[in-house]
């Protein structure tokens, strides 16, 4: 079964600094991966997805993630963070043909003014 590991439970970053949130997955077979964001007292919202094709995927609010098959990683990056990016971020994945997602334990991103 697929497993997803988020290496950092908390990441503090100064405003306008770059950030990378790390995510590694276990399976070597075809996978699809997502990043979700959760703001306080809300549900999860899709940030970006990788299904196939280009290994670099982007969101509308400046985040990007790169699917790296050799390193089994799908790290999330943003070149300059804002206060509004304060949230918890979840990486999730599954193998094609498996309808159940496996979620990482989440990374709490805190932006320091």
């Amino acid at each position: 079964a697929q497993s997803v590991t988020q290496l950092d439970s908390q990441v503090p970053v100064f405003e306008e600094a770059p950030v990378e949130l790390r995510c590694n997955y276990s399976s070597s077979v075809s996978v699809y991966l997502f990043w979700y964001v959760q703001y306080p007292n809300q549900g999860l919202q899709l940030l970006l997805k990788y299904l196939s094709g280009s290994t670099l995927v982007e969101s509308i609010n400046g985040f990007e993630a790169e699917f790296n098959k050799s390193q089994t990683s799908f790290h999330l990056r943003k070149p300059s963070v804002h206060i509004s990016d304060t949230a918890e971020y979840f990486c999730a994945g599954a193998n094609f043909g498996n309808e159940k997602l496996t979620f990482g334990t989440g990374t709490r991103l805190t932006i320091i003014p």
Binding site: S9, Y32, F34, Y36, N41, Q42, G43, L44, Q45, L46, K49, L51, F90, A94, F96, E99, K100, L101, F103, G104, T105, G106
Partner: protein, 111 residues
């Protein structure tokens, strides 16, 4: 377009009581899911359904039951509530491998 709607948003139960968490989606998704979220633990799958009349256990099904009589609705039933079931519950729906859409959650405390 409402997406995934969960009710209630908050609930306090006494030990041993039962209740049903409601979930409705209007996107005509065949797949629906129930998760629980505990601090630092991510989301754990309780039950899921691949279509009306078909349900299956997830990672943490004990103490819960589900039914799926229509495409739209996927209620989660707690029988004999226990303190360990204090959590935030999320319902989601999708057409895999497209992303799951989540409701806003039900915050449940059992005292």
């Amino acid at each position: 377009n409402a997406g995934v709607t969960q009710t209630p948003k908050f609930r306090i139960l006494k030990i041993g009581q039962s209740m049903t968490l409601q979930c409705t989606q209007d996107m005509n998704h065949n797949y629906m899911y129930w998760y629980r979220q505990d601090p630092g633990m991510g989301l754990k799958l309780i039950y899921y359904s691949v279509g009306a009349g078909i349900t299956d256990k997830g990672e943490v099904p004990n103490g819960y039951n589900v039914s799926r009589s229509t495409t739209e609705d996927f209620p989660l039933r707690l029988e004999l509530a226990a303190p360990s079931q204090t959590s935030v519950y999320f319902c989601a729906s999708s057409t895999p491998p497209q992303p799951q859409h989540f409701g806003d959650g039900t915050r449940l405390s059992i005292l």
